[in-house]
Amino acid sequence: MTETQTKPLVVEREDTKPGFAGTSVPRKEDKRLVQGQGVFFDDIKRHGMGYVHFVRSPYAHAKIKSVDVSAAVELPGVYGTLTGDEVAILTDPFFELSVPPGANIKDYALAVGRVRHVGEPVAAVVASSRELARDAAELVVVDYEPLPAVTSGEQALTNDVVLHDDAGSNVVWEGLFDWGDYEGAVAEADHVVKIERLHFDRFSSTPLECSGVLVEYNRGTGQWTLHGNHQMPGVGAIWMAPALRTGIDKLRFVSQDIGGAFGNKICLHPQYVACCLLSRKLNRPVQWTEWRTDQHTANAHGNERTFLDIEVPVTKDGRLLGLSVKAIDDCGAFPRYEPLGCIIWAQVTPGCYRWRNIRVDFTQVVTNKSPVSPNRGYSRMQHLWLTERVIDLVANALDLDPVEVRKKNYVRADEMPYETPNGCVYDSGDYARCLDIALDLVGYDDLETKRLDAQARGKLLGVGIGSTLDSGTNNFGQSTLLNPDLQFSGNNEVATVKLDIFGEIVVTLGTVPQGQGHETTASQVVADILSVTPDDVTVRAGHDTYWNSHAGLSGTYASQFAVTGLGAVKGATEKLAHEIKRVAAGVFGATPDDIELADGMARLKANPEAAIPFMGIGAIVNANNAILPEDVRDVTLNCRYVYVPPFTLPDKERKFGNLTLTYATQVHVAVIEIDPETGVYEIVDYAAVDDCGTRIHPQIVEGQVHGATAHAIGAATHEVFAYDEDGNLLTPNFYDYHVPHALDMPPMKNAAIESPSPFTPLGAKGMGEGGGAGIHAVCAALQDALRSAGGATVWRSCNPYHQVWQYLQDASSLVEVQSK
């Protein structure tokens, strides 16, 4: 009998000011979404539109000898085609972020001359119906000459087969990160724990809505309008416009509702460019809808990472002094957003721990697999998984209690803000407290009884901890640690808040929401500042470049809305509030300081009877401004604010500096039971304790925790993009790629504490991505359960039943201890 504890427990919470922020008001988005009235890109139709179908490579690696579209073009109802040869003439390769050799890779909208992963688009066909477009795509004849495939990071490093001749090597980027004094740490240590290998598997959050776009080309203005679900259009345009040899403003991105993205909708520029070319070539709107199998084979996977030669110097009382590791990151066939993953992990270099001496030899390579893109927990999750695995394996090897090792080594609450060995600043948090609460929720003190009870039923019980950080609000300056010539740094987000002629308060965001409830939380912040209710605030749904309420780094990614998005909303609303006060002061012959906002009115503090409703303010400024004194005629009641977080440029030489603004904490504990006869296991208890500073909308925060946990549990148990030696994806659909269903999810116990960030406008921290705590917790629980069954090293992040059975059959340890 499953009985989920329903009400999340709030253990500790800062006193919040009275107001809407901090309360779970009804979500503005829900009314349309529960009626099926959301507008997702595929819901949009245009007169005469054509449907795009991509011809995709069946091979992981092959030369394209010829592409013949003639039979497709002849099929009645086909509007036209696009091939790689055309793309190579009409566009320039996409901008690469890396230094050479990665910088020399040529990436186009369609394959040019060679295919490098199964599912890579080779040609595109447009027809009058979806079905017909696919019929025509089958008529395109492509002659391939298969080449040997590279299917692992380590194989790529040999360069026996090179994917990109222009680069001459499979290495995208490589570099050594060396902070503190690692050799000194080894000298000081009593033990050095060595772990041969750990591997973080490929998976992705697989948003339920696949990617796509409807593109309209305006011949008269040379403008493309893209109704799509790109989650980071500003950056998308930076890739697309130069490739299309046009200006940024010629690309108008529009989205209303997006069916989840999780980072997987950041690298859509190749397909979008193909659609732009087609709509211009055929002079008609074209729509591309990605199907699930396409999404799995050829859109965006999470980064796969192999960790080798891991060394951990430890003192005999269990103090961790340092970490040394060689990391090989497999980014698939094209780098696209990479090599940013080669630095993003450094936001959480020491994890939750106080070790100061860290050396990471990092190499990223291309392979004949789907390209990667940021995926919820992007790059930090891989590194935090390593860190958490290391803590447990060290504890195990030295026969120490994993709880004690954590507590001894956690950064302490009284050390906040804490500067990490590489110059990042952990803003606030109390990791040990979170751990105590989580352990309490699963009844840790009674666990030995439960273990014996499980044993009596023939089961192996294990408990595991995942303590992680979700670093939010990027300093894009970290990109210069990879490529000193890149001209990116800081971050920005925009909001516009206006008071209209009839007194309507209208908010326009620069972000691109995909379910995070931006309309709702923005209205809470506005309502509190203007002393109205969220119902009085209209937040425009979605994103439109033409609203002109965005900046170059706008988007919804990297756990930052509560900081950057709401920071911008707060700034814009405060500007508007001041303008309203100035207008009212002008009318009353007072100063703005004499005015207060209350109940939808601006009134004299000294005489509340003297009040002008917002409608009156809106009407005066917009339509009756001759009555205004001269000195307030500059008021527009349309206030745009750009929030810019307080970042500086990192030090390129030392690879040192503050890379992120906030650090939310997640400490999760999983209890599992393994059936040793089959390797089948079940998560029988689960606690998630999160701390993201001040919570604007607790229900939305809890929802994000639930979702991130489900992704993590999926990734730990069954979700893996596995390839065979020829580069065929073996899990290309939801039959074989098993995401958690309602019956797969354990009952979840939640709790929260609030450690407000001292660095953000509202004390809030980004928290949407989570740090993959569930993966770490499940792996650790498996490790614990296997202790009495041989103690094999849980060396993979994804552990389906056959893998667990393998651990039970071959209990060889990958861990060795050298003691002085």
Partner: protein, 153 residues
């Protein structure tokens, strides 16, 4: 290729339409009838975003041909608040934050409706089993189960 005029009842109204035999019911609903609340989330019948009530029971409209539906009754998410008033189930989804991006929601609501139509007081296990054919990637199902529970009481 078979093309045929079909007649069926969709959300209480009789609809007559010429369809190709190969047209999936989900595309017929979305593209031909413009009932875009019913979604597509996979191509293998696993995700349940396209769930509708078909002759009164939950079915995935991506595993039905439109031509098969000649004479059938189909109810989509658009039928739920036909008079403009959200049903208790829809209200419960909002009150319990049982949706984030809202993409799975229409299918989830139709599965939940099917459950409550046939079993007004389900246990948590029965609720979980009833929505097992609907994948949600945002909520971990926690609040969806809560929402359905709150209506089932």
């Amino acid at each position: 290729m078979t093309s045929k005029r079909i007649s069926l009842t969709v959300n209480g109204e009789v609809v007559e339409y010429d369809v190709d035999a190969r047209r999936l019911l989900v595309h017929f609903l979305r593209d031909d009838l413009d009932l875009t609340g019913t979604h597509v989330g996979c191509d293998t019948g696993n995700c349940g975003a396209c769930t509708v009530l078909y002759n009164g029971v939950a079915a995935k409209s991506c595993m039905l041909l439109a031509i098969q539906a000649d004479g059938a009754t189909v109810e989509t998410v658009e039928s739920l608040a036909a008079d403009g008033e959200l049903t208790p189930l829809q209200q419960a989804f909002s009150a319990n934050h049982a949706l984030q991006c809202g993409y799975c929601t229409p299918g989830m609501l139709m599965s939940a409706k099917h459950l409550l139509d046939t079993n007004p007081h389900p246990s948590e296990d029965e609720i979980r089993k009833a929505i097992q054919g609907n994948i949600c990637r945002c909520t971990g199902y926690v609040n969806i189960v809560e929402a359905i529970k709150s209506v089932a009481k």
